[in-house]
């Protein structure tokens, strides 16, 4: 098996690298953008998004606090690198997972095939696939990004599938009775009604992507995870601790903001406050 992998790396390594190039380009673009953007503008944007999501002052204040913490601790640049990795992984996961979830929701056979694959992606220790991907792509951002996607995509696939399938069958039947085709039902009924569930999946994906940053930094992802690793390696407790807290700060920003969006959406389509 090892020989087989070596052969794959020898023969196709360049091909894989070329195939993964768009991913790298995406990551680079996001990272460059985040670093080139002045810090105050990023704060304004993230606080603004938080306000749009919640329409209250608490969440924007929390986001502002978390971002100021990153700045004060001199972790800003690392935080942006980590954020870029997370955003690139999440965007790629969304592009791949939502169509997969749609496909699963339509066919029991597809679901039976893909579910064990998702289980595998979530339970297989990430080092197991980190090694071959490092062998193929070499250490650096691409294997880190791929490992993060593999780990972070499954919840979104699952929740997309679940959300689409749990749309009220009475509403689906009514839509069918009015002569809609499957595409009209998907776009006009299923996806709008499943959106809160799908958003919960995106939330999970961002959280899992962040939880991978330390492992990803072992193979050259840089960012906050690298600071944590250095802290461990040099026994600098404070460096590891503050970088770790920086990861938590990012997690809080994205978790709370996406959750607030989900709640607003649920309110809009009447899934909360229903009179039973």
């Amino acid at each position: 098996m090892d020989d087989g992998l070596n052969w794959v790396v020898r023969e196709w390594g360049d091909g894989f690298e070329a195939a993964a190039y768009p991913l790298l380009a995406l990551l680079k673009a996001i990272e460059d953008l985040l670093i080139a953007t002045p810090w105050w503008l990023i704060i304004v944007i993230l606080v603004g998004i938080a306000w749009l999501a919640s329409r209250r002052w608490q969440l924007p204040a929390l986001v502002l606090g978390a971002l100021l913490f990153l700045g004060v601790m001199d972790l800003w640049k690392d935080a942006m690198a980590t954020m870029a990795l997370m955003l690139a992984a999440t965007l790629t996961a969304i592009v791949l997972s939502i169509p997969t979830g749609v496909w699963m929701s339509r066919s029991a056979r597809v679901r039976q095939t893909i579910t064990p694959l998702l289980d595998l992606m979530q339970t297989l220790p990430s080092f197991v696939y980190l090694i071959p991907s490092v062998m193929i792509f070499g250490p650096g951002k691409i294997p880190a990004l791929i490992a993060t996607i593999v780990y972070a995509a499954p919840p979104l696939v699952r929740l997309t599938d679940l959300g689409l399938r749990s749309v009220d069958p009475a509403v689906m039947e009514a839509s069918r009775a009015f002569g809609t085709n499957p595409r009209q039902r998907l776009l006009g009924v299923q996806i709008p009604l499943a959106l809160p569930t799908i958003l919960a999946g995106i939330n999970q994906t961002t959280m899992m992507a962040l939880s991978m940053v330390v492992i990803a930094s072992m193979i050259g992802a840089g960012g906050l995870g690298y600071q944590v690793l250095q802290g461990i390696g040099r026994l600098e407790v404070s460096r590891g601790l503050f970088a770790g807290l920086g990861i938590v700060a990012l997690a809080i920003i994205f978790d709370r903001t996406t959750q607030a969006f989900g709640r607003r959406l649920q309110g809009r389509i009447g899934l909360v406050e229903t009179r039973t």
Partner: protein
Amino acid sequence: MTDTSENAITIRGVTKIFGDDPQTALAMLRDGKSKAEVQAETGQVVGLDAVSLDIARGQIFVVMGLSGSGKSTLIRHVNRLIEPTAGDIFVGGENVLAMSAEELRAFRRKSVAMVFQKFGLLPHRSVIDNVAYGLEVRGVGRRERREAAAKWIETVGLAGYEDARPRQLSGGQQQRVGLARALALDTDIVLMDEAFSALDPLIRSGMQDQLLELQKTLNKTILFITHDFDEALKIGNRIAVLKDGSVQQVGKPEDIVLRPANEHIEEFVRDVNKARAIHVRSIMETGETELCEQAVSMDARCEDVLPLFADHKWVGVLDQSGQQIGRVTARQVIGALARHG
């Protein structure tokens, strides 16, 4: 072959078997086995057993049955939300079962509208966009469909609620939205699946009156499903009683009340308000009669004439032109009410 062009809806020998091996069960049914026997031997559930109905244009045809009788399954065959195991269905002379998927969608968009027991409204859309939904699917432009929707919202008495979300409305109001959504399509046929069953009795009665009032001007063919015999008698021009997936009796409301075909129907009739079910014209004395001081129209029911007997011995019955076509006495009315008491 029966002539199907006269009827709005013709259902011929429709059988529906739920399960993974319907053909075996179908063969057993045709050999004369009962629903229970088929289920015991094969595990297949018989939903409908050789149902045939002729539904004429412009009438309210009620299919009445208890839960599990197959009535909701039956109505879903008309627009093929459910595929039959065997049988034929014609709507307006067209063979519904021969349609391709695309033809079927066009048929649903243009020829049949449906109202559901659980409303089936889209929770993420406003009332007006819900009412306009069918027109939107049909491809009508935004402005035109919203105008039509606004008109129907007003007709069903929900003006002012255009921008509300369905969840902000009460059950009765939500079903008015469902009704407006179906009527906005302006189809000849409206299917109503237990449309009023989820509503409170008072609201339900109001909705029934509203439907009858609307029907006077619309003259649509309405296939109405209900488990409530009183409701069937009140709104039906004709009633079919369904039990265990097969038709027990089809007829006018008073046919069923006065001449129940079997014990099962008699059980329903026993608890029903017969004074409301029986038209005076079906029990009146006909022929040459002297003009009565007090008269009612030929659509009157026994409950309408009962109070008149306090002051009059005879009550005349008039046709549409005001000509007296017969007369009734209190004795005849009481006799009709008591016969099946």
